[in-house]
């Protein structure tokens, strides 16, 4: 028997280790820079790009050919293999990945002059640089010793300018837009009174018009400044040839970074790895989420999980206290308990539908009618948002917290309770100052389970507030700082979106692994945080072992 049981454990452990290992390996491998090969094809081959005799890219994998040529009698064939190459330059080819038959290849090389550049659009470019056309009319050729340094400073400059443009367009112009919006609402609230306008109202309207004109002028100024900066981004250009020989020109302002993949030393690769990983963590997504980072998704998941915990804990704990401490134990309480336990087994999409119907349409709609009637028909709370998503998940995970809390409460010994009552404490005093502190570690265990389930849930969120791309974060520096009505991004949904809704599934695949890795990492971090708090409390409220 011991063998069967241990085998069960071993199989489970192997599967988990394998799954985690695969996710970690594939998720991190994405960021490790790989060499670029240049492939020369046999004469007359059409396997390349644009019938060119050579092309190249990053070898993603090598595999047996899907369609094998059958050997005729007495003939032995060499193993028929093919490469999957990441060829980049999507703007030139229209695709990013290509299979090539090994028999078509005559020679492979790794020329040191090849550059991989990350761009704003069309993904990475893989090329041999030809020259830089600078704004002052000078040119720096690709084999010049100054080339790398010059390009680097141009890219840096471009990145700084891009941040500046972003600051102007998003923060300053966004700020102006909010002011325009409040003027519009103020005007509507005056006009909504109807009938003849009083002199005071008319005066106010005129005042609003004046402010509006002033704001418009300010807006023009900012927009002009942004345009000017944008034009500067196109001032310097890089001319390069792709590995199949096509020549392209690109403004350096469109580049985010570049490196020479075939000359990188190990520390250089490691540095690039860290840099790319960090960009992935801290940047916003680009190109339909297949490029750039996933910061908004991480942040959205974090905020939602936190809000959910804040909602589910008091709710679940109070319910459990009533069930365990106050309710008269009997058939009714037992059936309530069974119902609560079964609630944990209801499919999550059902909670999503309920959240949409109750929270979003009913509660949100009511709030909009009562407090945000001026901005109707544009909904404020009457549409999915981070608050409704958190509440929906809180509802879904509340049974977990109730069950764990009940367990913890019943573990507090009768002797301890009687000790408190004998000191002249009331029942509620006993609960709040003796029973609850002693059961906090157990309650936190419930919360950890709830968070683990909530953070990874996707289905209900799709109905109550998750979006593919959210322009703003749910918490920012603009008053009132926490925007509960905003839609948000979520790692789980991001995985679904990348993997199954993406126009280029090959390009998205590594991102899916990386995102999965981060989702797991986030859940682990949240849980570790809660476990640390729990252990601290356990030490503090260690119950008697005597």
């Amino acid at each position: 028997m011991v063998w069967i049981t241990s085998m069960g454990l071993a199989v489970g452990l192997t599967m988990i280790v394998f799954l985690l290992g695969m996710i970690v390996y594939n998720g991190l491998e994405v960021f490790w820079p790989k060499p670029v090969v240049r492939l020369e094809l046999r004469e007359g081959s059409t396997a390349g790009l644009n019938n060119a005799p050579a092309f190249g890219g990053v070898i993603v994998k090598t595999q047996e050919k899907a369609v094998q040529v059958l050997a005729s009698e007495g003939e032995t064939l060499a193993p028929q293999r093919e490469y999957q190459l990441f060829v980049g330059n999507k703007d030139v080819y229209g695709f990013g990945y290509k299979f090539v038959d090994n028999t078509e290849i005559v020679a492979e090389s790794r020329p040191p002059e090849i550059v991989v550049a990350e761009r704003l659009e069309y993904g990475n470019a893989i090329f041999v640089p030809k020259e830089l056309k600078l704004a002052d009319g000078n040119t720096v050729t690709g084999d010049d010793r100054q080339f790398e340094a010059t390009l680097e400073s141009l890219v840096d400059e471009g990145n700084k300018r891009r941040t500046e443009i972003r600051r102007i367009e998003r923060d300053q112009i966004g700020d102006l837009n909010r002011k325009f919006d409040s003027i519009r609402l103020a005007r509507r609230s005056i006009e909504a009174k109807g009938g003849e306008l009083s002199p005071a109202d008319r005066e106010k309207l005129a005042e609003l018009d004046a402010t509006s004109t002033a704001l418009q002028a300010e807006y023009e100024l900012k927009a002009a400044k942004a345009r000017e900066l944008r034009d500067l981004q196109h001032a310097n250009q890089i001319v390069y040839t792709t590995l199949d020989g096509a020549e392209r020109t690109l403004p350096t302002g469109d580049l985010i970074g570049f490196y020479y993949p075939n000359t990188l030393s190990l520390p250089g690769k490691a540095g690039l790895f860290v840099h790319r990983f960090w960009s992935f963590l801290s940047d916003e997504p680009r190109e339909a989420n297949t490029e750039g980072g996933i910061f908004p998704a991480i942040f959205g998941t974090f905020v939602m999980t936190l809000l959910m915990s804040m909602a589910v804990t008091p709710f679940g704990v109070l319910a459990a206290i009533y069930l365990r401490e106050y309710a008269k134990q009997g058939v009714f309480v037992r059936s309530v308990r069974i119902a609560v336990n079964n609630l944990a087994g209801v499919p999550s999409i059902v909670f999503g539908v309920f959240g949409l119907g109750f929270f979003v349409y009913f509660l949100g709609g009511t709030i909009d009618r009562l407090f945000f009637s001026l901005s109707l028909p544009t909904p404020t709370f009457g549409t999915g948002g981070v608050l409704w998503a958190s509440l929906t998940l809180a509802l879904m995970t509340v049974p977990v917290v109730i069950v764990a809390t009940e367990e913890a409460l019943s573990a507090v010994s009768r002797g301890t309770r009687e000790g408190s009552l004998a000191c002249g404490a009331s029942k509620w005093q006993t609960i709040q100052s003796i029973v609850l502190p002693a059961s906090l570690p157990g309650i936190l265990t419930g919360l950890i389970l709830a968070m683990a389930r909530g953070a990874g849930e996707v289905a209900p969120l799709m109905l109550v507030g998750v979006v593919k791309l959210a322009p703003t974060l749910p918490i920012d520096t603009i008053y009132p700082f926490v925007h509960l009505e905003r839609k948000f991004m979520h790692l789980g949904f991001h995985i679904y979106d990348l993997g199954f809704q993406s126009p280029d599934s090959e390009a998205a695949k590594p991102m899916v692994f990386a995102t999965t890795f981060l989702l797991i990492l986030l859940v682990v971090c949240l849980n570790l945080g809660a476990i640390l708090i729990r252990n601290h409390l356990r030490k503090k409220y260690r119950t008697s072992t005597f």
Partner: protein, 284 residues
Amino acid sequence: MPAADTMTETRAIRPKEQSTPAAGAPTPIEGPFDQAYIKIRDFNFYYGDNKVLHDLTLDIAERHVTAFIGPSGCGKSTLLRNLNRMNDLVDGIRHTGDILVNGHSIYDPLLEVIALRKRIGMVFQKSNPFPKSIYENVVYSLRVAGRNRKSELDEVVERSLRGSALWDEVKDRLDESAFSLSGGQMQRLCIARAIANRPEILLMDEPCSALDPIATAKIEELIHDLKREYTIVIVTHNMQQAARVSDRTAFFYLGKLIEYSVTKAIFTNPANPQTEAYVSGRFG
């Protein structure tokens, strides 16, 4: 010696009583006495349909130690737990008769059970310190009564811990968890907690049953000292202990009071043959 000098004030609600009997020589008190502090009258008690206490009538003297002895299941603990209405927590209980403390019925509907428990401290068989610091354990009864003045609490902690002969051992680590104490120390902490609010009566439910002989000796010594201030009722399985610490002893059997007398009389010259059989160890 617990700081007797800090405890010299007497409360007005009690008649001044001079005699503090010297250890080992209890003052003989005969019959129902005037100073009876707790009066139990025709008390019957039921768990559901199960009658566990039968027509009990006995008086407990103020500032004496009264021991309840008897074999397991004889109802002595149940009676003790009725004195501060701890049995109220149990479903399906019922009683007839009455218990008077200082002349007032504890079942008076106007009396709040919380107020009653504030006047009656209790020490349990299994020490049950709260998951708090030593300091917070002692001042718990004051905190729940809404008394939070730091100077008062500090004073109470020192007085109570001295009173339970624990002060010297823990005075430097009052902020540590109560669970860092040894078993005997925990029980003395529970005693300190019970006397922090200066109750009138101290109920002890087999306070030494889980302790080693040295810790037991310390607590017995403590009971001797506490007798000057408190009316103590102790339930014990240990005959020697009853003989050592109590002034009067009540022997229960199957929910009935078999014999109640001065401790010395119970152990040397019991009137009832059942009592004799029990104290001499022939049954129970």
